[in-house]
Amino acid sequence: MKFLNRLKTAIVGLKTNKVRSALTILGIVIGVAAIISIMSLGAGAQKLILDQVEGLGSNTIAVLPGREPTGISDTAGLFLDSLREEDIKALLLPSNVPHASDVMPVAFGSSRLSYGNETYQSTILGAGSAEDSNVISRIFDVYPSEGSFFTAGDVQSLAPVVVIGDRVREELFGNQRALGENIRINGKRFRVVGILPKKGQVSFFNFDEMVIAPYTTVNQYVLGRKHFDRIIVIADDARYLDDTVRDITVTLRGRHKITDPAKDDFFVQTQADLAERVSSITSVLTAFLSAVASISLFVGGIGIMNIMLVSVTERTREIGLRKALGATRADILWQFLLESIGLTVVGGIIGILLGGLFSFGVSLLLTEQLGNAWQFTFPYFGAVLGVGVSGIIGLVFGLYPARQASKKSPIEALRYE
C-alpha cells in the first residue's frame, strides 16, 4: 500500500472523529503555544536588555571598584572605595592609556530634592570632567533643552549647580520656570543650570528622574566621600578596546601597588562582557521555562496514547475488517501511527499559531509601554522545533497503540457483534 494512501486513510479516520481529535490535541496545542510564547518573549526581553546595555556604545569600558563577583553568594564587599581622583588623573595620561578618548568618574546616590513646599526623592548623579565641559553629553548622548551642562570650571570649583531631568522638573516646578532657580539637595542649595528633555532609559540610567551635578560637588557636599562608583572610559576605536582594557588594568594596578592579579581592588568591564552575561542569563531562563512548558507536551503525549488506545479498542471491528480484506500488519500499523502523528503535528501547528498570536498581542501591549524599545520576534527555530517535537511525540506515543492495532486478527471483525 502506497504511503500517500496510508496518509489519506489516516486523515479520513481523524475526520470521522473531529471532536475527539480536537480534544486529544489540546495538551500538545497548549504545550507548543507556551513554548513559542516563552521563546518569543524571551528573545524580545533579551533584545530589550541588550539594546540598553549597548546604549552606551560598544567602545565604552567601565571600571568598577571591588573584585569581580565570582558567584551569587560572593558579595565582593571589599575595596568598594578603591577608585579615587588620582586614578582619573592617571588614566587621563596618554602615556598610560593612549587610546582613551574620554575618562569620566561617576558617583551616585539617592537624594531628597526640595523646592519651596515641593519635595521629590531622586537619584543624584555626580559626573563631568575637570578638563572637558562636553564629556557628559558625549558619553550619555543627552543634551539639555534649556540651559546647558555645567562646565569643567564648575567641576574644578565644586560649584553647586545642577541639571535636572524632565520628571524632576515637573514634580518640583510644575508649569513654573525652573532654569536659574535654586533647589535644595539634602539640604544644600543648588542652582538649576540645565533641564533635560524627556529621554527615558539610557543604559542603566533613567535621566528623567535624575539630577546631575559635578562629581566633585556631589562627593563633597551630598555623599560626603572621596571615591567613585565607577569610571567610564571610552576607547577611541573599537580595534583598541582590548588594548585599552589592558592599559587601564596595568595603570590602576601600578597606582594601587598590586602585583598579584587575584588581589585586584577593581575590575574592568566592557559592554561586550556585559552583553554576554545578560544573554547567557536570559538564554538559561528561556531554556528553563521551555523545559517546564515541555512537561505539558509530555502530558499531551500521554493523552494521545490514551485516546489512541481507546480508539484502537473501539475500532477493533474496523481493523479486523480491513485485515479480512487484505490489509497487512504494516498497513494497520501505519494507519494508526499516521493518525497519531497527524494529530500531534496539527496540534503543534495550531500551538505555534496560538503562541505566535499570543506573544504578538503581548508585544503590542509592551510596545505601548516601552515604545520602540520592545520588538516582536517570531521564533522560527522554535516553530520548526515545535512541529518536529510534536511529530516525534505522535510517533513515540502512537507506536504502542498502533502496534496493538496491527496485532489484531481479522476474526475480531466478526466476533465483535
Binding site: T9, L321, K323, A324, L325, G326, T328, R329, S409, P410
Partner: protein, 238 residues
C-alpha cells in the same frame, strides 16, 4: 482443479478453561468453479469452518492446503495478499464502514492492492453495477436496506475478481425477496464468471441453489452430496 483441500481440520476454543471443539474433524475438497453450500443447525461449526477456509482464523489441528500449498507455509503478508486478491468474503452482518459511501466501501480492498489508483473508481462502479446498486453510489450504509447492504458487501467481495467467494449466511438477515436477489447474484457470478462459491445457510431451500451440499453437525461432516434438483433464482445461459 482443487482450490481447497482440508484434511482432518480441527478448531478448539479455550475460554476460561472451557474447551469448545467447534470443528472436530472435517475433511473436504472444493474444486474451481464449484458452488457449494454448507448447511447445519446453529452452533454446528459452519462459521468456524468458513473462517478457517477464508484465512480469517487459523485451525488448531489438521492440514489445510489452499491452491496446493499448506497454509502454514504462507507468510503473514502472503496471507494478507490471499485475503485481498484470491478470496472474497461476505459476512452475515455486512461489515460495511459506517459514514462511508457505497463507492468508498466497495473500493476498500483496492486500497490494499497494487491496482493503480486511476482504475479504482471505474472498477468499483463496475462491481456496484453488477449487484444493481448504481443508483446508490454515494449513499451511506445507514441509508440502505438490509438487502442493499448485502449487495454492497458482495460488490466489495467481487471487486478484486477473486478465485473464490465465501458467504456466511448472506441471506440470514434479509426478507425473502432480498434473499432471492442475493442468490440470483451469486448464481450468476458462478455460472457466468465461473467464481467458486462457498455459501453457508441453515435453510435447505437456500442451500439447494448450490450444486453440492455439505451438512455439518457438532463439528463433523454428516453428509456431502450433489443437489438433485437445483433451485434457480432466474434463468442463465451456461
Amino acid at each position: 482443479m482443487e482450490i481447497i483441500n482440508a484434511i482432518n481440520l480441527e478448531k478448539t476454543y479455550y475460554t476460561e478453561g472451557l474447551e469448545t471443539r467447534a470443528v472436530r474433524d472435517v475433511s473436504l475438497t472444493i474444486s474451481r468453479g464449484e458452488f457449494v453450500a454448507i448447511i447445519g443447525p446453529s452452533g454446528s461449526g459452519k462459521s468456524t469452518l468458513l473462517h478457517i477456509l477464508g484465512f480469517i482464523d487459523p485451525n488448531t489441528g489438521g492440514e489445510y492446503f489452499f491452491e496446493g500449498k499448506n497454509v502454514n507455509d504462507y507468510s503473514d503478508d502472503e496471507k494478507a495478499f490471499i485475503r485481498n486478491k484470491r478470496i472474497g468474503f461476505v459476512f452475515q452482518s455486512f461489515n460495511l464502514l459506517a459514514r462511508t459511501s457505497v463507492l468508498e466501501n466497495v473500493k476498500l480492498p483496492l486500497l490494499y492492492s497494487d491496482v493503480p489508483e486511476k482504475q479504482w473508481d471505474e472498477r468499483a462502479k463496475k462491481a456496484i453495477d453488477a449487484v444493481g446498486l448504481t443508483h446508490r453510489l454515494l449513499h451511506e450504509p445507514s441509508e440502505l436496506s438490509g438487502g442493499e447492504k448485502q449487495r454492497v458487501a458482495i460488490a466489495r467481495a467481487l471487486i478484486r475478481e477473486p478465485e473464490i467467494i465465501f458467504a456466511d449466511e448472506p441471506t440470514g438477515n434479509l426478507d425473502s425477496a432480498s434473499g432471492k436477489s442475493i442468490m440470483e447474484i451469486l448464481q450468476k457470478l458462478n455460472e457466468e464468471k465461473n467464481h467458486t462459491i462457498v455459501l453457508i445457510t441453515h435453510e435447505t431451500y437456500t442451500a439447494e441453489h448450490a450444486e453440492r451440499i455439505i451438512s455439518l453437525r457438532d463439528g463433523l461432516v454428516e453428509r456431502d452430496s450433489k443437489v438433485e434438483k437445483r433451485n434457480m433464482a432466474s434463468e442463465f445461459k451456461k
